[in-house]
């Protein structure tokens, strides 16, 4: 099947001014590749500060002005240029943001779900979108501060379905929700995928991601270090990258074991594998390797000199 979205070697840099006029390029996302097919849920999982949200902004071409993006994004088989993205965003490609702060505090919910859409049936569609997620007609007249956490999330999902989206990017879809409410919200995303859309949840919560994802792309220091199917997460033995295994072991039901250290800050690392500092299996080669490509390996993708996987 033709992928709805294919990201090839995406890099995002920020231009920073350090010490007066000395400019410096700060790489936040490096060589990221990803593929989603229609009807598929591909979760991007990574720690805070790994550049996850920027991935979403990069696809939508709404990155801040002091940044620039390299690589290729293909949407529905064609290059997703910034012009094309401007036409599609909010309609075919939608973002479901993290929380209620993404709603204008002084605008009524109905008007926000409708968005900047002057079409005669826009109001009707907004009402239908709200109703789809069990929000009564009265919700339209509420202001964001009058919404509960769960309602706010449903309003945000409703903004995505006023048109017929083909690609849904969900940035941290379930923060601050209890397991039951989070499960319900994730169910909504699963349902959108079953309707034929590609869904890209971006989260730090591996456990929740696994409940809906077909595939998981693990993000570390701005890079995809492993792409694995959800089934691979049944046991650490079927995972390829040492970091992914560490993530697996850090899950509450797998012993809650943290690993020492933290991921390197953007720009602090010049050569070698970014995980080398935290990796128990790292070799001198790992620290020196100039180019570590993401390569297909045993049914998934991995960026490691020394991957493991036992069948």
């Amino acid at each position: 099947m033709q992928p709805i979205l294919e990201i090839q070697h995406m890099s995002i840099h920020f231009t920073q001014y350090a010490k007066g006029t000395r400019r410096r390029e700060l790489p936040v996302i490096r060589d990221l590749s990803l593929k989603i097919e229609p009807g598929q849920v591909v979760a991007v999982v990574g720690a805070s500060g790994s550049g996850k949200s920027l991935l979403a902004h990069g696809i939508l071409h709404i990155l801040p002005r002091n940044s620039h993006m390299e690589g290729r994004i293909l949407y529905d088989g064609g290059d997703l240029t910034s012009k094309r993205a401007a036409r599609l965003r909010g309609r075919e490609i939608v973002l479901v943001p993290q929380g209620v702060t993404y709603l204008d505090p002084l605008m009524k919910v109905g008007e926000q779900v409708r968005g900047d859409d002057a079409a005669p049936d826009a109001k009707q569609r907004a009402r239908k979108a709200l109703a789809r997620y069990g929000l009564a007609a009265g919700t339209e007249e509420l202001y964001p501060f009058e919404l509960s956490g769960g309602m706010a999330r449903r309003v945000l999902i409703a903004t995505a379905v006023t048109h017929e989206p083909r690609l849904i990017i969900a940035d941290e879809p379930t923060p601050g929700l209890d397991a039951k409410a989070a499960g319900r919200i994730l169910g909504h995303f699963r349902e959108l995928a079953e309707g034929g859309a590609g869904v890209l949840p971006i989260t730090h919560d591996l456990e929740l991601a696994l409940t809906i994802a077909d595939q998981v792309a693990v993000f570390y220091a701005g890079q995809t270090i492993e792409v694995a199917s959800a089934e691979d997460f049944a046991s650490p033995a079927t995972l390829r990258h040492p970091f992914t295994r560490a993530l697996w072991r850090a899950m509450p039901e797998h012993g809650f074991q943290p690993i020492a250290g933290a991921q390197p800050y953007p720009g602090t690392q010049t050569a070698g594998c970014p995980f080398a500092g935290q990796c128990a299996r790292s070799t001198p080669q790992c620290r020196e390797a100039a180019d570590l490509p993401l390569r297909p390996w045993q049914g998934g993708m991995v960026r490691c000199l020394n991957p493991q996987r036992e069948e």
Binding site: I62, R65, R91, L95, P97, Y102, D104, L106
Partner: protein, 330 residues
């Protein structure tokens, strides 16, 4: 309802406290002033040629020798009965003098207030929307330049350009010199008010524009502006749909808080343009030791400023859904 009543009573109490404080401070400053009312208003030479009884009479008129506390309490007692006293210099009831002068200044103040508000908002929104780019840098540069320019100097500069060099506008006063009161037209009055009003507007703009810009930048960097971008809204639409809405609340505060600055500025500006308004009367009263008039002017202008802030508070309740719906629920 209970909430509103509590709000009103609280505000009135605060206003009474404020006015009391302002009057005490004004009175204390005037008492501490080294100006001798007799020397200033009658003159050394004239005083020398007067008899003891005449001097004693004048001293009684200007209140010299009466203990300050007694004088203040006397004034306060009268004011509580609605009597603001008689101006010592104008020999008219204080309220009458203030009324006349306020009528003279009102258009000036109102014009300056509205122009600086509108212009400040437009410039601030424009600068915020083009943050970091040329229009923003020009507007910011202008605002910083104007903020660091003394008002009286700007007034002199405008006088120099428009009245002296170009000769298109009058040099001072509120009506043509020597004209019959009956023959003065509205056009005459407007012509005389242009320069002072312009000076006040120009200085008032900077503050409002800079604050509005900051708020606009905050809005455009907000999560909801980002989300609007993600949904395909253009920058212009974001400024119009989300920017103006969210800038409105601080703009209201700024606009009503600027009343005090406009009134304060008018004191200086009216002096430069010899414009017979409230500001000029305040200077005359201060320099001439006209205690009742000065107290009257400070108390009344303080009440106007307080009233402005009160209006801002009330408008907040209308504009901000959090306050509106929060209060309705109580």
């Amino acid at each position: 309802m209970k909430h509103r009543l509590r709000f009103a009573v609280g505000k009135l109490f605060r206003m009474a406290l404020l006015l009391l404080g302002v009057s005490i401070l004004t009175f204390a400053l005037m008492t501490a002033s080294p100006l001798d009312p007799l020397q200033t208003n009658v003159g050394q030479v004239a005083l020398g040629s007067m008899s003891q009884e005449q001097v004693a009479k004048l001293e009684a008129y200007w209140g010299v020798g009466t203990p300050p506390v007694e004088r203040y309490l006397g004034w306060l007692g009268d004011v509580l009965h609605g009597d603001f006293g008689t101006s010592l210099l104008y020999r008219q009831p204080v309220l009458e003098v203030v009324g006349q002068r306020l009528a003279g200044s009102l258009w000036l103040l109102l014009f300056a207030w509205i122009i600086s508000g509108i212009l400040g908002l437009v410039l601030g929104v424009t600068a915020g929307a083009t943050r970091g780019r040329l229009p923003d840098r020009l507007i910011r540069g202008y605002c910083l330049l104007i903020s660091s320019t003394p008002t009286f100097w700007l007034a002199l500069l405008l006088l120099l350009i428009f009245s002296v060099w170009l000769g298109v506008l009058p040099i001072g006063l509120s009506v043509p010199i020597g004209a019959d009161a009956a023959s003065i037209t509205l056009a005459d009055r407007l012509q005389h008010a242009i320069l002072p009003a312009l000076t006040l507007s120009i200085t008032g703009v900077a503050n409002i524009a800079l604050h509005t810009r900051e708020k606009m930048v905050d809005v455009l960097n907000s999560d909801y502006a980002l989300f609007a971008r993600a949904r395909g809204e253009s920058e212009l639409r974001i400024v119009l749909r989300h920017g103006l809405r969210n800038v409105a609340l601080p703009a209201i505060t700024l606009q009503f808080a600027s009343i005090s600055e406009i009134i304060g500025g008018s004191v200086v500006v009216e002096q430069v343009f010899t414009y017979p308004g409230l500001g000029q009367a305040a200077v005359t009263a201060g320099l001439g030791s006209d205690m009742p008039l000065l107290l009257g002017i400070t108390v009344i202008t303080a009440a106007i400023v307080f009233g402005g802030n009160l209006v801002a508070d009330l408008l907040y309740g209308v504009v901000d859904p959090k306050i509106r719906r929060g209060a309705a629920r109580e």
